[in-house]
């Protein structure tokens, strides 16, 4: 069958089922937008993990006057405790793992606290004596934090050794769950779009059964009978997935780069180059799904 003739058949089919075609476009559009956003979120999580894990420090919190009895039976840390911690950090056992460390006294901690919680009511009640003196340690390899935990936990005068990554992990778990939820919603919608495509194609074939009968009688090959229907589904899904791709790119450009990146200047966000990686995959997935769905639908409808 000639290309021009086939394309005009496809066009007629699309026009005839306009409402169904629009619904295919919308469903593939929305589901693939979800898929695209979720995969970008995954990329973003990966990037943030790299970025923050490298900067994550291990905090050695010293006892204060208000520390719980169980951790600090002897009350606030003395100068000897500080000296002991410092000495251990510089000892030959620990020094090779440590990139750098610094000491934060209660006044500095108070200043940081006031800055962090500016405008929050808690900033007015807290006093410098209530905040821990802290040794902040940067390791060469953040994965080796257990070494520090082991050396300092139980040392009298040390309240707690805390790896900042444990806070980060909570955030990443939340983000990860969000992206998984988005992916599950998207896959449900993809299932419905596949079913919608096969229903539409069957409807389209039914409304053209007269033509199909004649095509079979005059000896049109099975392939040339089926191809216009498959193309019909593919064209509709292609429009939907291109729309989804554009939406993802617009989201990156204006929401992520335009809004998020400006309000959180020290975080690296996914950029258009990541989008350019995701969008072709989205479009390919949309087209492939539509081709398979409509191919199967028309094959079952048209037993020659």
């Amino acid at each position: 069958m000639r290309l021009g003739f086939m394309l005009s058949e496809v066009g007629q089919g699309l026009k005839r089922n306009l409402a169904m075609v629009v619904s295919i476009i919308l469903v593939t559009f929305i589901s693939l937008t979800f898929v695209g956003t979720a995969s970008l979120l995954q990329l973003q999580i990966g990037q943030m993990k790299n970025y923050w894990y490298e900067r994550a420090q291990v905090a050695v919190y010293l006892c204060t006057e208000v520390s719980p009895e169980a951790a600090c039976p002897r009350g606030a840390a003395t100068e000897e405790v500080k000296a002991e911690v410092k000495q251990r950090l510089e000892s030959t056992t620990l020094a090779p793992f440590i990139e750098e460390y610094y000491f934060e006294d209660q006044q500095q901690a108070f200043a940081n606290f006031q800055e962090q919680f500016a405008g929050n009511a808690v900033a007015q009640y807290v006093k410098p004596e209530q905040l821990n003196e802290t040794f902040w340690v940067n390791l060469y390899d953040p994965n080796q934090s257990p070494i520090l935990t082991e050396s300092f936990t139980g040392l009298s005068g040390v309240e707690e050794v805390r790896d900042q990554r444990s806070y980060l992990d909570q955030i990443f778990t939340i983000l990860n769950t969000a992206s998984l939820v988005a992916i599950s919603i998207a896959s449900l919608m993809l299932v419905s779009s596949v079913l919608l495509i096969s229903t539409t194609i069957r409807l389209s074939a039914f409304s053209r059964r007269r033509e199909l009968g004649i095509m079979r009688l005059v000896g049109a090959s099975n392939f040339s009978i089926q191809l216009p229907f498959i193309l019909e589904g593919v064209v509709a899904a292609l429009i939907g997935s291109v729309l989804a791709g554009l939406t993802v790119l617009v989201l990156i450009q204006f929401f992520v780069q335009g809004f998020l990146a400006e309000s959180l200047p020290f975080t690296s966000f996914v950029g258009l180059s990541d989008g350019m990686l995701v969008v072709p995959l989205l479009i390919a997935a949309g087209v492939l799904l539509a081709a398979v769905a409509s191919g199967l639908a028309i094959r079952r409808y048209l037993k020659i």
């Binding site: 003739f5 009688l217 005059v218 000896g219 049109a220 020659i304």
Partner: protein, 231 residues
């Protein structure tokens, strides 16, 4: 040209076979009437010759192809060598006369140049040259059947199968269709026509194959519709 050997066709749920050990030979250039009452097996026979169905046993050879063993993907190419017309014309209502004829050539991939030449030629031959741009519902029944005939022969088939082509037409119109079928036959195409119309069969004096209860009960050269002597 067409050869059936001991063909039996049963349909599910019916105890009696639609065709029972039917053997039939049709040669090149013949004009054959298939007659018989409803349910005698005429339509089943036509369906087998068109490879819309395969028999339960026996062999069907048409145009050198063994239709029983023909793989499904080769069926379309076999059908391109055949022309078919039906009682209900089977035209596309939203296409004009010439588009209807052109459609059958377009779907088998003929070039636009060939189509532009062949379609007016064949429409002229069936006497519809003037009405090429009309829609089917603007034509009389006889004219619609002429369009269907034009579509069936535009690809110059070796065999034309006609399943009650005059069934919906009045006698005068039928006569026009029959003379057209006759001239197609004279041009060398083998014509097989299933019909109930005894006046046509009696007048044409062609070979008659009568089916009854799925069996060939009469095969007569230049016969009439009824049993010999009663016609």
């Amino acid at each position: 040209m067409i050869s059936l050997q001991k063909v039996t066709k049963k349909y599910k749920g019916t105890p009696r076979p639609a065709l029972d050990q039917v053997s039939l030979e049709i040669d090149k250039g013949e004009f054959v009437f298939l007659v018989g009452s409803s349910g005698s097996g005429k339509s089943s026979l036509m369906r087998l010759m068109l490879r819309e169905d395969v028999p339960n046993s026996g062999s069907v050879h048409v145009l050198g192809e063994n239709l029983v063993g023909l793989p499904a993907r080769r069926v379309p190419f076999f059908r391109r060598k055949l022309g078919v017309v039906f009682q209900d014309f089977r035209l596309l209502p939203n296409k004009t006369v010439s588009e209807n004829v052109a459609f059958s050539l377009q779907v088998i991939g003929k070039s636009e140049g060939f189509i532009q030449q062949a379609v007016p030629d064949v429409l002229g031959m069936v006497g519809l040259g003037e009405k090429a741009d009309r829609l089917p519902n603007e034509l009389s029944g006889g004219e619609q059947q002429r369009v269907a005939l034009a579509r069936a022969i535009v690809n110059k088939p070796a065999i034309l199968l006609a399943d009650e082509p005059t069934g919906n037409l009045d006698p005068t119109t039928s006569e026009g269709i029959m003379s057209l079928l006759n001239s197609i036959n004279l041009a060398g195409t083998t014509v097989v026509m299933a019909t109930h119309d005894f006046s046509i069969v009696d007048r044409m004096k062609k070979r008659v194959v009568e089916l009854s209860h799925g069996q060939v009960v009469r095969d007569q050269v230049s016969g009439g519709y009824g049993v010999k002597g009663q016609a």
